[in-house]
């Protein structure tokens, strides 16, 4: 059996940095501002025992326990956004009017095991 890969502690579930540049997605000609923004994403493990700060539900705690007994049969809970915040975007609409609009759930502030 191949030697187990050097086990580094798998990083826990938490927000990870993700900067979205609107020119990367080809939207720079109609979005006036911002040019991009820090959207972040959730990444990491939800291992047994679920630490309190992982903002998890009772269901996730139980699922983790079952996963530890039967890893093949039951997956670990998922690391997902549990608190997001809005941003405002200044852009040209389909009739070339200038619009300032508020968009909900655009930035990941907090992650949790669910």
């Amino acid at each position: 059996s191949a030697p187990s890969p050097s086990v580094t502690p798998s990083p826990l579930c938490k927000p990870r940095r993700l900067y979205i540049s609107f020119s990367d997605v080809g939207w720079e000609n109609w979005i006036i501002a911002p040019q991009g923004y820090l959207a972040n994403y959730c990444g990491g493990e939800c291992p047994f025992p679920l630490a309190a700060e992982l903002n998890s539900t009772n269901h996730a705690v139980l699922q983790t326990m079952v996963h530890s007994l039967d890893p093949r049969g039951t997956p670990q809970p998922c690391c997902v956004p549990v608190r997001l915040s809005p941003i405002s975007i200044l852009y040209y609409d389909n009739s070339d009017n200038v619009v300032l609009r508020h968009y909900e759930d655009m930035v990941v502030d907090e992650c949790g095991c669910r």
Partner: protein, 225 residues
């Protein structure tokens, strides 16, 4: 690959729709960004994140409910004075294409902004006044001045400021898909030639309409709340 491209464009169009856009905008001749919107955007950017205590369905800067602020450019035209007597300085049909307003958006503010080249002060002779009248007209017909027709809004000015905001929120509760207004500025005063009386309004530059609405996401949220 074409499959990947098709998938991406499908994803993009569904995201654009959730952003309230029917397709990816491609501004042909983008208008300059109105300073009022630029200032509002910069003020929001400066707020500490995350905006815990901020009501996302309220435009704090204008103290009205709303999550969408648009500025519509005037697509109208000047009209011949057409008034045989009196001292009409300026007569203009204002036309705003409001068809982008989505089903279910509720208008919470409408502010007409008249821009002049500079602050202007008529010659200081007593009794000189500029009168401004605004009528709602049909987008189709050429508006004929009819005596006794009630204006939507009537104001008198001794001086014209560079930027003149006129609140039309009450008058435009249901703006419809197009909005046509007849703007008349006339001068009255015991002395002075008509041209000198009208000098102030001759510096008229442009008009725009600032509209604040409550979009679906806010209206759903509010009714839930």
């Amino acid at each position: 690959s074409p499959v990947l491209a098709a998938g991406l464009s499908r994803q993009e169009s569904s995201l654009l729709q959730s952003l309230g856009l029917s397709a990816k905008p491609s501004p042909k001749n983008p208008a300059p960004v109105p300073p009022v919107l630029r200032r509002m955007f910069q003020r929001r950017e400066a707020l500490p994140r995350p905006h815990k205590d901020r009501d996302p369905c309220r435009v704090e800067e204008l103290s009205v409910p709303g999550d969408i602020v648009r500025v519509f450019a005037d697509q109208g035209r000047f009209l011949p004075e057409g008034q045989p007597q009196g001292q009409l300085c300026l007569r203009r049909l204002l036309f705003f294409n409001l068809s982008v307003l989505e089903e279910g958006e509720r208008l919470t503010m409408a502010r007409l902004e008249l821009q002049f080249q500079h602050n202007s002060y008529p010659a200081p002779s007593p009794g000189q006044v500029l009168e401004l009248r605004l009528y709602r007209v049909s987008p189709r017909g050429l508006p004929q001045p009819r005596p006794g027709r009630r204006p939507l809004l009537e104001r008198s000015f001794v001086r014209l400021h560079k930027s003149l905001p006129l609140d039309l929120s009450a008058a435009l509760k249901t703006p419809g898909r197009n909005l046509a207004l007849l703007l008349e500025i006339s001068a009255s005063g015991r002395t002075g030639s008509l041209r000198s009386l009208c000098a102030s309004s001759d510096s008229f530059v442009a008009t725009s309409l600032l509209v604040v609405t409550l979009g679906r996401q806010c209206r759903a949220g509010r009714s839930r709340r």
